[in-house]
């Protein structure tokens, strides 16, 4: 049975490509259609703030349910069982941080970027620079993960192997195509086009996952216990262990701490992800921002319940051994399950959805990173707020091109890494560099520029340095660099150290920093605006009066 999977490609490559091309064609038409009305900075960055809460909620779930969620979690549950489930729980519970503490207040205070909020009552230039740096770093990590997912997927679908002997092989070509498409979406469609791509993708993904879930459950008489039993039967190596925690993270005292570290990074990372925060500016009010999060929580939660069934379903129907040996490894669990259920056609559809997922997420990341550079670095720092809005948008577009190029090269290098794991690193950096400053600025009156800089740079540098010297990068059989060993930090995920440290540095910096003139008034303005929505940017607002 396993031989058919180990053949060069699964399904008919021609059919897979055809279904994918249909998706690309439809989305391109839509992006060109809505892109015609992109004129102002508010149009380009925030879609004129004209999306409803419901639309934005669907788009957020499209932005959030990345390749890590679909391919990564289903694959992790299929191969290591319960430990894969922790990802989905962390990814979901994290939304409560966004709902209760961040979304509405951020919507009321900022205009386009995370830097708007972080620097609101601080000295603009240094804090905006810090916010832009951390936005770029987090988005880069996140982009790497998505690009790596694209490479893995294509190896499965088109039978294009990862050829280690040359830098630019068939998979690299696919990564390059993904990069070009994402730049086109962003340049032509701006935030409006990107949002529509995300809405379409979220709908396809949710419907696809729902159909597969019902199909899998139907095969087992809608009896979850029976399904779990079959998954155990079909997992000769691990057996019963796949139903309980510990298979991946229970090996040693260190790996258990690593698990806690991962859990912390997941739950605190979401509300610090710049591309998620930026989505709250696309709606007209804080109330609509709240509505978006509520929709996102329901859609994302239901989707993760689907992946639980899909993961164990893949273990039961395909088998963990077949999955790990397939090209693309654990990431190929969902496509293989689709093939098992509905043959070539369902495989083609599911693969097209997975591609759509990657495309939509990378487009969202690109627009966020380019907005942060153009708005925080170019307009606010280099031009000190005196740039023409259309010049700012021009810079954002050029930045998007550069980011596309960087993402393609980085994606080729990161190809073959576990997607969910790479995304977890992005979460750790976001939780360390962004979340403490975000919460302190919104809720702590004394917080000042020095505190913000200590916390942002401290959290950013600590988390990135600890990742570089972690077993995730070097020294073990699953590291990015297997041939060298320069790791001294024992944990794969730095969250447990870097997140508390960043919170602490925010306090230390605030205490050593001097009190700033007008700090009281600045906090008064921020608090009144954030809680009441006074003076907040409305739909189709005229830009740049700040």
């Amino acid at each position: 049975m396993s031989e058919s999977y180990l053949a060069a490609a699964v399904g008919k490559p021609g059919l897979n490509i055809a279904i994918f091309l249909v998706f690309v064609l439809i989305t391109l038409v839509i992006v060109f259609w809505v892109g015609r009305s992109n004129q102002t900075a508010s149009d380009y960055y925030a879609a004129g703030r004209a999306f409803t809460g419901t639309q934005n909620g669907v788009a957020i779930s499209g932005d959030y349910l990345s390749a890590a969620s679909f391919l990564g979690i289903a694959g992790a549950i299929a191969t290591v069982g319960y430990d894969g489930f922790l990802y989905s729980i962390g990814f979901l519970v994290a939304w409560l941080v966004a709902l209760l503490l961040v979304a509405e207040l951020l919507r009321n205070t900022g205009k386009f970027t995370m830097g708007d909020v972080l620097s609101f009552r601080m000295r603009q230039r240094p804090v905006r620079a810090a916010a832009a740096v951390s936005t770029l770093v987090v988005s880069f990590f996140y982009l790497l993960a998505q690009m790596a997912g694209a490479g893995g997927l294509i190896s499965l679908l088109l039978g294009v192997a990862d050829d280690k002997s040359t830098f630019f092989d068939g998979q690299s070509l696919v990564i390059a195509v993904v990069g070009i498409l994402m730049v086109v979406y962003v340049l032509v469609g701006g935030m409006k086009g990107t949002t529509w791509v995300q809405i379409i993708k979220a709908t396809l993904l949710l419907v696809g996952a729902a159909v597969m879930t019902a199909w899998v459950l139907g095969k087992f008489g809608f009896n979850l216990s029976y399904l779990l039993g079959e998954a155990v039967e079909n997992s000769p190596k691990s057996g019963e262990k796949i139903l309980g925690p510990g298979l991946q993270y229970g090996k040693s005292a260190i790996s258990k701490i690593d698990f806690v570290s991962l859990g912390l990074a997941l739950v605190l990372g979401t509300a610090g992800l710049p591309h998620i925060l930026m989505r709250f500016y696309t709606v007209p009010s804080a109330k609509e921002a709240r509505r978006s999060v509520v929709w996102a929580i329901w859609l994302i939660g239901i989707f993760y319940l689907f992946t639980l069934v899909l993961g164990y379903g893949a273990a039961a129907l395909v088998g963990p051994d077949v999955i790990t040996q397939a090209p693309g490894g654990a990431n190929s669990a969902a496509p293989l399950l689709a093939y098992q259920l509905g043959g070539e056609l369902l495989l083609g559809l599911v693969s097209a959805i997975a591609f759509a997922t990657i495309l939509a997420v990378v487009a969202g990341l690109t627009i966020t990173a380019s907005a942060s550079f153009a708005h925080d670095v170019y307009a606010s720092m280099l031009k000190k707020g005196n740039s023409a809005p259309d010049a700012e948008v021009r810079v954002a577009r050029r930045t998007a091109l550069v980011i596309g190029l960087v993402a393609v090269v980085g994606g080729i290098l990161a190809n073959g890494q576990n997607v969910a794991f790479l995304v977890a690193l992005a979460f750790a950096v976001a939780a360390s560099a962004n979340l403490p400053t975000l919460l302190y600025s919104l809720f702590w009156k004394r917080f000042n520029t020095t505190g913000a800089l200590y916390s942002i740079y401290g959290g950013l540098i600590t988390s990135v340095v600890l990742i570089v010297f972690s077993p995730a990068v070097s020294g073990t059989a699953t590291s990015m660099i297997k041939s060298a060993n320069f790791h001294w930090f024992p944990l794969s995920n730095p969250g447990l150290v870097s997140i508390p440290l960043s919170f602490l540095l925010g306090v230390v910096g605030t205490l050593v920093g001097r009190r700033e003139r007008g700090a009281e008034a600045g906090y008064a303005e921020m608090e009144v605006r954030s809680l009441t929505g006074l003076g907040a940017e409305r739909a189709d607002a005229v830009v740049a009066h700040h």
Binding site: Y82, L86, L92, V93, L100, S225, G518
Partner: protein
């Protein structure tokens, strides 16, 4: 708070006066009284889950119904608690936060017009 009519947003004084007004203090109290304890509740509940998964795998593997074990049940309960907290917050915000915020905003915007 009729004094706010004299100044426009952007001038610190106006905001400081709004911030000190009893209506605003009440709004802040209503917001913080809900979001801080609720955040503590869901974070502790989540961390408890993570710690149980890391250090008590035997407990999590106790079977309850067929192959459905404690771990799966607590995991799904994390989903349920997230949905419940979301719903409770939306109700609270609609009932207690939105009207208060709207009242303050309208009064100030009205006095500027």
């Amino acid at each position: 708070m009729s004094t706010t009519g004299e100044t426009l947003p952007g001038e610190g004084n106006a905001f400081e006066r709004i911030q000190a007004s009893p209506e605003f203090v009440e709004l802040r109290r209503k917001l913080r009284r809900f979001i801080f304890p609720m955040s503590a509740v869901f974070l502790i509940w989540y961390l408890l889950y993570v710690l149980l998964a890391a250090y008590e795998p035997a407990f999590m593997s106790i079977k309850l119904l067929g192959n459905i074990n404690v771990g799966l049940l607590i995991g799904v309960l994390q989903f349920v608690s997230t949905f419940v907290i979301t719903t409770v917050y939306v109700r609270y915000a609609n009932k207690h936060l939105d009207p208060a915020a709207e009242e303050i905003r309208e009064r100030i915007e009205g006095s500027q017009a």
